[in-house]
Structure formats: structure tokens, C-alpha cells
């Protein structure tokens, strides 16, 4: 009987989803909150990007429900902590070859010594154990099989997407504006693409296998959760700090303001990468000293991920804090704040009811704008060995491992291609969505124009 084993990062991610749902409910009720979101919804590009983001989110959420399962006793292993995604993708997870193999390959990428039936040792490209194991080896048969499978997958995916559209979005389907059509088409395309990939992935290694023979497509899917977690949890850390300190500094002025300003200037004076590096170094040292506290590899990697989010949050709250302070300085001189003060409202009440709701648009804009740069920063930081745990599936780790094989001839390109393209999809969708959100919430673009000199951007140079 599988039991639920929530990791800390699972809890955080689901908590974030709850906060998102609560915000959506608030936004539905209050017209001022609703209007900008409706503007976002009207953009075809934005809505299509939102669909892509939702698919990524669904993958991450499936990967964030961890179960403890008793595996077959024959394997020797008694229990294993697996996510729902792992269970769903069991054929991909268990289809481990001995080493590299190219996408759709039937044989391994490099020669191995094989004992022939005659008892002689021979160098040859061994047949893969799982990849294309079911089909004949001839080119024609394999091509026919691939074609048949992708056709079945496409039809199944299309049917699934259509029924989802028909069931879940009758309202959206009824409205035939351009945005709804774009979103519908994106969903159909995603359904077809996903159907084809999944139908093929059960029998082939669609993106090949890596050095230890595990399926690259599976790794890329698992990495989605890591990327999303870093992009969102970091904000969760940075947000309260920036909101409380920034608004308080702007509202109270005087000594509070000086103190908060000093605090964030000092922190932002330290180069972000180096602060992250220093903290990661210390965390490493701490974990080596307290090795007994981290029982499982999974728990250790999970805590390291959370710590990374915390560190990134601490380095990135300063810019948001600066923006919020400036906005609060402006707001405190507004008539409605004066009126509230004249009516005898306490400072706490004014902050809560008048200032915080009125700076929320800045919070939303910076949150969505920062997301993509954080996802990219993960890859860069992991390359520097100060990112996520090496045992964790992440795009950074995939690129890092593949980089060492670049000198090989012929090139082992599939790991890189899978990691870079899945990351590109997420970041592109996030960028397009962020643009729409910024345009809707801040018509005077300039105020929070994209700052290319953001510390996270500099990491990737």
C-alpha cells in the first residue's frame, strides 16, 4: 500500500498553488484586480503561453506528490520513494541501458566486448535492452513502426485535447475571439505533440540515453519540477521580506527608512553570484559535518534545493524592496492615505488596507519577470557547482554532464538538445506571459522596464 511521503519542497509548492488559488478567488471578486487579468486574457500570445506554462506546472505537480512504495521483493529493494510522475513513467524510468545510445537507436552508441554464442569475445555495438526492443532491426520496419506509433499517439492526444477543451472550457469555446482560438490551437498542438512523444517514449528512447544509460526524455521531464521550484519558491522567500521592509520604509520614513536602505544597499553591494557561492560553500561544509542528519539522498537533495531558493531569495529581494519603497513614498502623500490618517486609522491598518493592496501590481510584475531569469540562473549556478545537488534531475545537471562529452566524435548531442529545448520552452512561455502581465498591470512600461543588469542575468554571461 503506497503511503504519502511529502518532501519539504512538495509542501512549499502545493502551498504556493493554494496561495495562487486564493489570489485567483480574490481577483475574481474585486473588479480592480480583475480588469488587468482580463487584459492579459485578451492577448492571444499571452493565453497560448499560459497554456504552455500550465502543462509545465502539471508535470511539476505530478512530480511533487511523493509516495513510498514497496517494490517487488525480487529486486532486493524494499521501499522506494517515488513521485506520481515516476510511477506514470515507469517504462521510461526502468528502461536503463548500459551507456549512451542515440535517439531511436536500436544499438548502443559505443562498442563493447560481447561474448558470442561460439564463446569468442567480439567487439560490437550491442543491441539495446529496452530501446526498440520490440521491433525488427531493419530500417524499414523501424520507420514503419515509428510512423504507426506516432499516428496512434497523435490521434489519442488530439482526442484527449479536444475532449478536454469540450469538457473543461465550454465557456472559452463558445467565445470565438482570437485569444481563445490561439489557446485552443496551442492546447491541440500540445496534445498532439505530447501524444506522439509519449506513444514513442514507451518503446524507444526518443532523446537517447545518457552515460549511465538512463532515458534522457525522462530526465528532462523530471527537471521541470526543479526549474519551476527555483523560479517560484525564490519569490516566496523574497516577497515577505521585500514587502514588509519596503512598504514600512516608504511609509514611516526617518530612521526606519535609513535602516532599511542601509540594509539593502549593503546586501546588493555584494555581487549576487559570489554571495550565492559563499552560502552554497558554507552549506556544503555544514552538510559534510552533519552527514548523519540527512538520511536519504532524496532528503538531502531536497533540502539543498530549498536552501538554494532561500539564498537566491535573499540576494534578489533588494531590487523589489527598492521599487516598493519608492512606490510607498509616493502613496503616503495620496489623499486617501491622508484621509485615512485624519479619520484616526492606525499605521498598521493603513499599511494593510491602503498601501499593500496598492503596491501589489509591482509585486506581480516583478514575480513573473524574475521567474524566467531564475530558471536560467539554475543552469548556470549548477554548472558552477553551487546550484542544486548533483544527484537531482535538473537542466543544469544535464547540461553539465553532457558538456564533458562534447569532445566526442561523433557528437553526443541529445542530452544537451533535450535540456536546452525544454528549458527554452518554459522560459519563452514565461517571457511572453510576463510581457503581457507587465503591459496589463503597468501601462507606463518604463517604470519597471526590463533591467538587463539584474544580478541573475549577469550570472549567465
Amino acid at each position: 500500500m503506497p503511503t504519502l511521503v511529502p518532501l519539504w519542497s512538495d509542501v512549499c509548492l502545493w502551498l504556493l498553488v493554494l496561495v495562487g488559488l486564493w489570489y485567483a478567488r480574490q481577483a475574481r471578486r474585486h473588479e480592480p484586480l480583475r480588469a488587468p487579468w482580463r487584459a492579459v486574457r485578451r492577448g492571444p500570445m499571452a493565453l497560448a503561453a499560459a497554456c504552455v506554462l500550465l502543462v509545465y506546472l502539471a508535470i511539476a505537480l505530478l512530480d511533487s506528490v511523493h509516495l513510498e512504495r514497496t517494490t517487488r521483493p525480487a529486486d532486493g529493494a524494499e521501499t522506494a520513494i517515488l513521485s506520481v510522475l515516476d510511477v506514470l513513467l515507469t517504462p521510461l524510468r526502468l528502461g536503463v541501458e548500459t551507456s549512451y545510445s542515440a535517439p531511436f537507436a536500436t544499438r548502443a552508441f559505443s562498442q563493447e566486448s560481447v561474448l558470442t554464442s561460439a564463446g569468442r569475445v567480439q567487439r560490437e555495438y550491442p543491441r539495446l535492452r529496452y530501446g526498440a526492443a520490440h521491433s525488427a532491426e531493419s530500417q524499414g520496419a523501424r520507420a514503419r513502426d515509428i510512423f504507426q506509433r506516432s499516428a496512434t499517439g497523435a490521434v489519442a492526444g488530439l482526442a484527449l485535447a479536444l475532449s478536454a477543451l469540450w469538457l473543461a472550457l465550454p465557456a472559452a469555446l463558445g467565445r470565438t475571439d482570437r485569444a481563445a482560438r490561439a489557446a485552443g490551437l496551442t492546447l491541440l498542438a500540445l496534445g498532439v505533440g505530447g501524444g506522439v512523444l509519449l506513444a514513442l517514449a514507451t518503446r524507444y528512447h526518443v532523446f537517447g540515453t545518457d552515460k549511465v544509460g538512463s532515458d534522457v526524455f525522462y530526465q528532462a521531464l523530471k527537471s521541470v519540477r526543479t526549474g519551476l521550484l527555483i523560479g517560484t519558491l525564490t519569490t516566496l522567500v523574497a516577497l515577505p521580506l521585500a514587502l514588509v521592509l519596503g512598504v514600512a520604509a516608504g511609509y514611516f520614513r526617518g530612521f526606519t527608512d535609513d535602516l532599511v536602505q542601509y540594509f539593502y544597499t549593503t546586501l546588493s553591494a555584494i555581487p549576487g553570484v559570489l554571495l550565492v557561492a559563499a552560502s552554497a560553500l558554507l552549506l556544503d561544509a555544514y552538510m559534510t559535518r552533519h552527514a548523519e542528519a540527512f538520511t536519504s539522498l532524496l532528503a538531502r537533495a531536497d533540502l539543498r534545493l530549498l536552501a538554494l531558493c532561500g539564498i537566491l531569495g535573499i540576494t534578489s529581494w533588494t531590487s523589489l524592496c527598492r521599487l516598493l519603497r519608492a512606490e510607498a513614498l509616493k502613496l503616503r502623500e495620496m489623499d486617501f492615505v491622508h484621509a485615512a490618517r485624519a479619520l484616526g486609522a492606525r499605521s498598521g491598518q493603513i499599511l494593510r488596507q491602503h498601501l499593500v493592496p496598492n503596491v501589489m501590481h509591482i509585486v506581480i510584475i516583478t514575480t513573473v519577470l524574475d521567474f524566467s531569469s531564475l530558471v536560467l540562473a539554475e543552469a548556470a549556478l549548477t554548472y558552477l557547482d553551487i546550484g542544486v545537488d548533483p544527484s537531482m534531475d535538473s537542466w543544469g545537471n544535464m547540461i553539465n554532464a553532457a558538456r564533458l562529452e562534447l569532445a566526442r566524435e561523433p557528437l553526443v548531442w541529445w542530452s544537451l538538445a533535450a535540456a536546452l529545448s525544454s528549458m527554452f520552452g518554459l522560459v519563452l512561455a514565461a517571457n511572453i506571459f510576463a510581457d503581457a502581465v507587465r503591459d496589463a498591470f503597468d501601462p507606463r512600461q518604463r517604470e519597471f522596464g526590463l533591467t538587463p543588469s539584474a544580478p541573475t542575468a549577469r550570472v549567465c554571461e
Binding site: Y262, T265, T266, L267, S268, A269, I270, P271, V273, L274, L275, A277, A278, S279, L281, L282, D284, A285, Y286, T288, R289, S372, L376, A379, A380, Y383, L384, D385, I386, W395, I399, R403, L406, L411, L416, L420, M423, F424, V427, L428, N431, I432, D435, Q445, R446, G449, L450, T451, P452, S453, A457, R458, V459, C460, E461
Partner: protein, 325 residues
């Protein structure tokens, strides 16, 4: 002006002190000298004497903040915090944990970093400004729309993509430049082409979009309509008015970056094996050499503060309305 400068410099002092305190807490309190010694000497078989000797060699055996056994001012000055801060403030970075002279290393390795960072900055500025001006000039045209799409796509690529793709395409496939490495003097040029190209590409998309937004905002202002109404030619309006006014935020954005050019680009330098400060930092990180990392953190924050100061001064130069007093 000089009064303003002095005041700003005085204002920077507490920030430098704060940075110093923060890095000290990070490197000496959270991670004590004993931990450092054990890590450098090997985790397992290490005697207490070896640890004590290692600490004594580096002067890490003093108390952290307060020495109760001394008297007078010595209680404060003969501590690890005071001596190490004093050394940092006088730019004496001492020796790394591995025994190398950090100051000499810094002076030697800053040149390759600059050799990449400065061309990247200049080429990038020229390219991005031209492209953004074209987009703003032909706004609404196919060029503008497609450029915006290309820019978003470029922004969405990981920096690692440009590095790996560039190395594969230009070095491995076309054999135009060496994959990595660095040479002395003019020979370095050969090695610099690819890193500079990669550096420019990696941040071009974001910059072009930002500059275009700045230009578009200026174009919507009344003085531009006035200039058109006067009958000025389109190039006159674009270069004489729009560009000049939009240059204020652009220049100040660049000036902030100027000092930190010394620090080098971490990943680019590591990938191309360029012996600059970026790869120096990475090597220190991988060897867990806290002395070097601390020196780099300190240096980086000094340069950032210098950048802020330069920004304020550059406002005066580009915008006659701003007076510093």
C-alpha cells in the same frame, strides 16, 4: 561638487563596513577557522596539533571579536575581525589558503578579464543601439515585429546555449577559432573572438528590447512632435533628439556596470579557459579557498559602490538639469 563627492564617499564607508562584517560572519563565524583547517588538511585523519598549527600560520588562532585576556585597546584590536578587516581595508589580501599571494594574482588576472569584458560592452552597445533605433524608427513594420520576436527568443536561450553552440559551430565545425585557451599579446586576439561574440549574443536580446522601449517612450513625447512640426528631417529627430534623450538612462545603466567589468564573466571564462578573475573565482570556489572568495566579495562590493558613485556623476555630465550639491 567636491563637497558632494566627499559626502558620498563618507556615506559609502558604513556600507563597506557592513559588507565586511557580513562576509566576516559568513566566513569566520558560521564556518569557524577549525572547520576551515579540517577541510584544507583533509576531513578524516587530522590531529588537533595540525589544526592549531594551520591556524597559527594564518593568524586564525586569535579570538573572533573580543579578547578578554588583553587590556586596553588591545582587547579590540588583537582579534581576528579587527586584523583581517584592517588588512582588507588596506588592500592587503594576504595569502590564499593554498599559500598563493592573492594581491599579485588579482593584478595579473584582471587583464584577461578586461580583454573580454570591454569589447563585449562596446560591441554590444553599438549593436543594440543601432538595432533598437532601427526598430523604433520603423515601429509597427515587419522589421519591428520580427525583431521583437527574435529578441524574446534570444532572451529565452540559456547563456550556456550560446557558449556551447558557438564552440561547436565556430571552433569544431568551421575551424575558425580555437575552442578555448588564451595567449599573450596579439596572439590573444585569436582566442578572444568567440568569447566576445558569445558575450554579446547572450545579452543582446534583453538590451535591444529595453533600448527600444526607451526610444518608443521618447518618441511619444511632445518635443518630438514639435521637432517634426518644425520640419526637421527624420534622421535629425532620431539622432539629435530621441537618441540623445534616451541616452541618459542607457549611459547610467552602463556606468553602473563599468567597475564590475574587472570581475570578469564567471561562466564564459571557465568555458573558454581564460585566466581571468572570473575563472580565478571559480577555481577558488571549487578548491573551497575561503580567503580568495572573501577577497573577491570585498572587491566586488567596492566596485559596485564605485559604480553607484560614477552613475551619480554621469547624470551631471549627460543631463544639464541635474545639479549635485
Amino acid at each position: 561638487m567636491s563637497a558632494y563627492l566627499i559626502r558620498r564617499l563618507l556615506y559609502a564607508l558604513p556600507i563597506v563596513l557592513g559588507v565586511n562584517l557580513l562576509t566576516f560572519v559568513l566566513f569566520f563565524v558560521v564556518n569557524t577557522p577549525d572547520d576551515m583547517a579540517r577541510m584544507q588538511l583533509g576531513e578524516r585523519r587530522v590531529t588537533a596539533q595540525a589544526v592549531a598549527l594551520w591556524k597559527a600560520e594564518r593568524g586564525y588562532d586569535r579570538p573572533l571579536f573580543w579578547d578578554a585576556s588583553r587590556s586596553g585597546v588591545d582587547q579590540l584590536t588583537d582579534t581576528l575581525f579587527f586584523t583581517s578587516s584592517q588588512r582588507l581595508f588596506s588592500f592587503d589580501f594576504g595569502r590564499s589558503d593554498a599559500g598563493r599571494d592573492i594581491g599579485a594574482d588579482l593584478r595579473q588576472r584582471m587583464w584577461p578579464s578586461l580583454a573580454i569584458a570591454v569589447p563585449v560592452l562596446l560591441v554590444e552597445l553599438a549593436l543594440a543601439l543601432t538595432w533598437a533605433l532601427l526598430m523604433a524608427w520603423l515601429r509597427g513594420s515587419a522589421l519591428d515585429v520580427w525583431s521583437a520576436i527574435v529578441c524574446v527568443a534570444m532572451m529565452s536561450c540559456s547563456g550556456l546555449f550560446y557558449i556551447i553552440g558557438g564552440q561547436w559551430l565556430m571552433a569544431k565545425l568551421w575551424h575558425l577559432v580555437p575552442i578555448s585557451g588564451y595567449g599573450e599579446g596579439l596572439a590573444a586576439l585569436h582566442f578572444l573572438v568567440l568569447p566576445v561574440l558569445v558575450g554579446v549574443l547572450a545579452s543582446l536580446g534583453a538590451n535591444v528590447r529595453w533600448y527600444r522601449a526607451l526610444f518608443a517612450e521618447e518618441l511619444a513625447k511632445d518635443y518630438v512632435r514639435m521637432a517634426h512640426a518644425k520640419g526637421l528631417s527624420e534622421p535629425r529627430v532620431m539622432f539629435g533628439h530621441v537618441l540623445r534623450n534616451a541616452l541618459i538612462p542607457i549611459l547610467t545603466g552602463v556606468v553602473v556596470l563599468l567597475p564590475s567589468l574587472f570581475l570578469g564573466a564567471l561562466i564564459t571564462e571557465a568555458f573558454f579557459a581564460i585566466p581571468g578573475l572570473g575563472s580565478y573565482t571559480i577555481e577558488a570556489l571549487q578548491a573551497q579557498d575561503f580567503a580568495i572568495v572573501r577577497a573577491m566579495v570585498y572587491l566586488g562590493s567596492l566596485l559596485y559602490i564605485a559604480g553607484l558613485l560614477l552613475t551619480d556623476l554621469s547624470y551631471v555630465l549627460v543631463d544639464p538639469r541635474v545639479r549635485l550639491a
